[in-house]
């Protein structure tokens, strides 16, 4: 019973629908609200994105410890629940146009996959970190868009690729990293979950991983199509990233790619 409670608590932060509604509410807070004000700075939200999965992984480990490692049927139920949550949020992500909602839903879809691996005894810490860290570059760049244009939203200011080429290049890389394209920690996290889980149950592992991954790509392309590509508006003032900020972002992306390699070396 205690294991079930701990797993359900973990399901709040390694989100399982409908427990996921809470974490989505938190991550989507409007900066104008009281709680949102405290999370207005991107660093605070980045901290939250990294902290929440760690809490979830801790609760998961505690649940396993309490059960003495014997969580067979319960783990399978949670794995199916996690897989369904992941695909469900990946499907919902397709129609999201707001940056904050997009990140919150992708976080939900990605971190729910930890349950798929956990059921098959894949150590959850590194995949959880990999999936969460992959979202950070985009979080900061969404914040940059909100600062410049008032909100980070698809379709409001298309064609940034022509007006803000440096920002756009980094934005493209950040989106690719978020949707787990190779060299992102997210890709290696998915590989680790897949390689580990397939030894226990092929369908239960590969189906949610594959479907979510496919739908993330689709929604990532929607972001690029509405922000980077298209014809720029004439009535907006565009300010590209300065060299120093750009180098900082690029270095962060490179560091994350190296972390991805570290993950794969640990995995094989």
């Amino acid at each position: 019973m205690l294991t079930l409670i701990l797993f359900l608590l973990a399901g709040l932060v390694l989100p399982l629908f409908p427990l996921s509604l809470g974490v989505n509410l938190l991550l989507q807070q409007d900066p104008a609200s009281a709680l949102g004000g405290r999370l207005a700075h991107p660093a605070a939200r980045a901290g939250l994105l990294v902290l929440l999965p760690l809490v979830g992984v801790g609760l998961l480990a505690l649940g396993r410890l309490v059960a003495g490692g014997e969580v067979g049927a319960l783990a399978t139920v949670f794995a199916m629940w996690g897989g369904l949550t992941s695909v469900f949020y990946a499907f919902r992500l397709l129609s999201v146009r707001d940056g904050r909602i997009w990140l919150a839903q992708l976080y939900t879809s990605a971190l729910a996959l930890i349950w798929v691996g956990a059921a098959h005894e894949v150590p959850p810490l590194l995949p959880a970190l990999g999936l969460a860290l992959s979202l950070l570059p985009l979080l900061f760049l969404f914040d940059g868009l909100a600062v410049r244009f008032g909100s980070a939203r698809v379709g409001l200011y298309p064609g940034l690729g022509l007006c803000m080429p440096v920002f756009s290049t980094l934005f493209i890389l950040a989106v690719l990293m978020a949707v787990a394209v190779p060299f992102s920690p997210g890709f290696f996290a998915i590989s680790e979950l897949g390689f580990g889980g397939v030894g226990r149950n092929e369908l239960l592992t590969l189906l949610p991983l594959g479907l979510s991954w496919l739908l993330w790509t689709w929604s990532g392309i929607n972001l690029l199509a509405g922000i980077v590509f298209g014809t720029p508006r004439d009535d907006l003032a565009y300010a590209d990233l300065g060299a120093r900020v750009a180098v900082r972002h690029a270095a962060a992306l490179l560091a994350l790619a190296l972390f991805g390699l570290f993950l794969v070396e640990g995995m094989l």
């Binding site: 996921s20 509604l21 989505n24 509410l25 989507q28 499907f91 919902r92 992500l93 397709l94 129609s95 999201v96 707001d98 909602i101 064609g159 690729g161 022509l162 493209i172 690719l176 394209v181 190779p182 060299f183 998915i190 590989s191 897949g194 390689f195 889980g197 397939v198 030894g199 226990r200 149950n201 092929e202 369908l203 592992t205 590969l206 991983l209 594959g210 991954w213 496919l214 790509t217 689709w218 392309i221 199509a225 980077v228 590509f229 298209g230 014809t231 390699l261 794969v264 070396e265 995995m267 094989l268």
Partner: protein
Amino acid sequence: MLGSALAVRLVADRQSLLVPRISVGASALTLVLALLLFLQQLGATSGRMLGLGLSVFTLYIDWLSTLMALLVSAVGLVVHVFSVRYMRDDPAYVRFFVLLDGIIAVTLLMVLAGDLLTLLLAWHLVGVLLYFLLNHETRRRPATRYAFWTLFTHRIGDLPLLAVVALVYHAFGTLAIPEVFAALAAAPQATTLLGLPLAGTLGLLILIAAFAKSAQFPLHTWLPYTMDGPTPVSALMHAGIVNAGGFLINRFAPVFVHTDSVLLLALAVGLISTIMGSLMMLMQSDIKKALGYSTMGQMGYMVMECGLGAFSLAIYHLIAHGVFKATLFLGSGAIIAKARKDPNIPEGEIYQFMVERKVPRPPVSWIIFAGITVTVPLLIVFGAHQLVDGGFLHRQGALILLLFGWITGAQTLFFVYKIGGERPFTLLLYVILSFAMVILTYVVVGHAFDALLYPDPDFREALYQAAAVDSGWFVLVLLLLVALIAMGWFIAFRFVAEGQPPSRRWRTLYLNLYTLMSREFYIADLYSRAGEAVLAASKRTNALLRWR
């Protein structure tokens, strides 16, 4: 090539003139290295692994990988050289060269990959980089739309490969390609957790991955529509990237020898794609789109060859196709520009037939001509095979390929009859001689590729056996097909001789078919509708849950 991409980006702001020099120079150097690697491998007795001491980024140097690297780097150099002038006035000149270098680098990594994770990484990145190259004209909505189709289809092809990697790692605990093949050979009866044969499951997944990259039905819609990218990208795509499917099937040939009936799927899908691509090609008025469908048909043929067990022939086919298709794409712009001034079609029978639509009355007896059409190509293809490889008759795959050679030859001779003219038998003789040359070359080179890529005759035989079906049924179906096709030719000849082509005789059916084909069987429309429905459902769900 990756170094070149980085160097191009770094020097672009200060020394823009250096951009093409660096890029073309790196491309030429890559070709030289690929050639040296290939020549070195020619004298080797087996493949070898190269690595950096990491678990990923290992390279497997064998005959297949070096041959493919040679093709990729050669096509890459031609496309680079062509792009220098073609793209000169383009504002996104630098970005284009960075992406071009990048895609050639990952394609080379793909063909040379020594472990399955590197293969998956490169396989995946090819699709991503192609998306950005096709989206070169960032303002154009169609470019964005069809680039998305491309990436999405390629991603569908990535998923089975991910499953392959996961299954192999679980089964054998290694991802190194030669070790995987050795482990599978030691335990060919291994099964998955679901109790399915492992080799068969892997084979099936590999085929699906290959179908997506090589634009096979029903994953073909991305290819004919991606014409908004620059012409050099089209050339690279049609001469290089679509070949990835054929390469993948060949790379995993040691898996397919342990499968049973899986290759029949390749045969069926390849056949459908060949017929569909060729039909669609004839329906197009846009030269680039026609070439796009032609590529689909050719790739279908290549996949079909694999489905028949003729793996090395597929490699020869993809190289030959790559060379001529790159030439056609790179020349298409100049041809269109010239044709606008002067169509340059010589006056005579062909001009009357093709342009003025005057169908002359055939001057000779249709029975004689039909007899020649049905028998001579059959004798040529049979004779050429017999000359080069006397033992081909027991291979079902070789017989099916022979059948296709026969149909192709007969179609050409039928066309000669339709054109008519004053000296039909002279023209017929020229066509027969050309056909004999083509078939003989095809067979000889095909056998040379066989000996190069799969030097072990037992392995070659095992590939043909993996593609074989029950011999009694096979002979029955083959004879039935031959009889039906021969009868079809005789009927077609008779109709033409009577001046009543089938299109006039069964007009309603013909028009209905024409309409269906002009809408490309509604497949692209169906996908578009399905995509819109999914997006609408997603929006409704989000609204219901207040986007939480």
